[in-house]
């Protein structure tokens, strides 16, 4: 198995540990990842607001690079917002008139987008290409004793995602169980983390974060598959605690970090020390505790 890899901007900055742990577990699984050269921003939620065509041309630029770099290979994406932008672009470009406009814009980059490459979410690849049983077979240090609350967020599963139910997804459950942990199913698995509202409308953004943390709260940690979800859930717990009038302290793990831990990778290899909410309680909860240097 081989994939082209589009890390996305967050994974180069605030969510570097997400990229690092993704590369580490795919290497442990013997799946080759080749980072797309010269990739640029997918446009986030911003480009399409500046102009409809810009919102298509930016994702198409990286998709066209992928088609040229490795024809026929899928593009692995770890950010749900990037994923949605790539899938949206592909869906819109089925209209030949739209595809023509995109390519008129891409001319200046010397690129042609043919709408042949498929963007695949890392959760889709882990659940459906690799599979829970292969992941389970690679486990060296089962996460027995740990309860994990899956958190999919929004754009991982809707509106363009073909691999799971857009409102009641289940892909993470079999993976969490294959790691030896238990899954804590809850009401907010696919409800919103607030995305940029935490920046533009903090009062509302914090409420949305609080609702997710509250629903996931009895678990030992929550597992995310998007850097934006991770940042929102991990970074604002102090403010959420102030708002609610009680302490909130739920470790938030990238799913790839949990898989890495179960594969026997060290906390340092998975950059666990980068989280604002310490993950030590997660490591202490395991039946075979993991020494934590960070």
């Amino acid at each position: 198995m081989r994939y082209l890899f589009y890390p996305g901007c967050s994974a180069e900055g605030s969510a570097l540990e997400y990229k690092t742990s993704t590369v580490a577990i795919f290497s442990a699984l013997g799946v080759e990842l080749q980072e797309l050269q010269d990739w640029t921003c997918c446009g986030a939620s911003v480009a399409a607001v500046k102009s409809g065509l810009l919102g298509l041309a930016l994702p198409a630029r990286s998709l066209a690079l992928a088609e040229a770099a490795a024809p026929g290979e899928d593009l692995l994406v770890i950010c749900s917002a990037c994923y949605t932008n790539f899938r949206r672009t592909s869906a819109e470009a089925k209209d030949p008139a739209v595809l023509r406009q995109i390519n008129r814009a891409l001319e200046v980059e010397g690129l042609v987008y043919r709408n042949t490459v498929r963007a695949r979410h890392v959760l889709d690849v882990l659940a459906n290409d690799v599979g829970a049983s292969v992941i389970g077979a690679r486990v060296r240090r089962p996460l027995a004793g740990l309860t994990v609350a899956p958190y999919y967020g929004c754009q991982t599963v809707r509106p363009h995602s073909p691999f799971d139910d857009p409102q009641a997804p289940v892909s993470m459950v079999a993976i969490i169980e294959a790691l030896g942990a238990a899954a804590h199913r809850h009401s907010h698995e696919a409800l919103c983390c607030g995305t940029s509202l935490s920046i533009t409308k903090p009062e509302l953004g914090l409420k949305l974060v609080a609702a997710v943390l509250d629903a996931a709260g009895v678990a030992g940690c929550a597992a995310t598959v998007c850097p934006m979800c991770h940042t929102n859930l991990d970074s604002y717990q102090r403010q959420v605690g102030q708002m609610l009038g009680h302490r909130v302290r739920l470790p938030i793990m990238h799913l790839t970090q949990l898989i890495g831990l179960a594969f026997g990778l060290s906390p340092r290899q998975l950059l666990l020390e980068r989280h604002l909410v310490p993950v030590k309680p997660v490591l202490d909860r395991l039946e075979t505790p993991i020494p934590h240097e960070g």
């Binding site: 900055g13 605030s14 911003v46 814009a105 509106p159 533009t200 409308k201």
Partner: protein
């Protein structure tokens, strides 16, 4: 309230019936409002806003806060029994409001401007420079409030300070300019 004649506003007409199923198919069931995690903070709930779109009250819609509170969670869109692309249409509404200078929320306008400027300059997001530009242009008072979180993110290595580049040629200048040309040519 002012009623816009859809015939005189082609952007509005395109929004209403040129982008997936026509908004006039909306039967006002309210599933969008019930599904929206932000509806309680909106001046127009999603159901009311779509009714105003149907009727042609363009300015009222574009000046409302509603679209700026949407986090693009797509719950209303996947639940809409009429299959209307509600969330995608919100993006089109934001585009219209921004282009017409009718943005009711300076924070939101500043967010889009700062993000687009950094994207155009570097081709990729630079989180610290983006936040600095955003806070300085639209939200100065709040900058102070962000200091503790910023320091804590720095301490954990979640963010790093980078020297801004003042090169005249941005990495995506060419593409941004070309997109504007193509859109102008139609």
């Amino acid at each position: 309230m002012t009623l816009t004649d859809p015939g005189r506003d082609p952007d509005f007409l395109e929004l209403r019936d040129g982008y997936g199923p026509d908004v006039r198919r909306c039967m006002q069931c309210g599933t969008c409002t019930a599904s929206c995690p932000a509806s309680s903070a909106m001046d127009l709930t999603p159901r009311r806003m779509w009714r105003l779109v149907q009727l042609g009250f363009v300015d009222e819609v574009l000046q409302s806060k509603t679209m700026w509170l949407c986090s693009l969670c797509y719950l209303c869109q996947v639940r809409c029994p009429r299959g209307i692309r509600l969330t995608d249409l919100i993006t089109r509404l934001k585009e219209m409001a921004l282009a017409r200078g009718l943005v009711s929320s300076p924070q939101s306008a500043g967010f889009y401007e700062a993000f687009a400027a950094v994207m155009r300059q570097y081709g990729r997001m630079r989180e610290v420079e983006f936040m600095a530009r955003y806070l300085l242009t639209s939200n100065r008072l709040r900058a102070v409030g962000y200091a503790p979180l910023g320091l804590s993110l720095l301490r954990h290595g979640k963010i790093r300070l980078e020297v801004p580049s003042f090169k005249e040629q941005g990495r995506l200048d060419r593409l941004f300019r070309r997109v504007a040309e193509v859109e102008a040519e139609g």
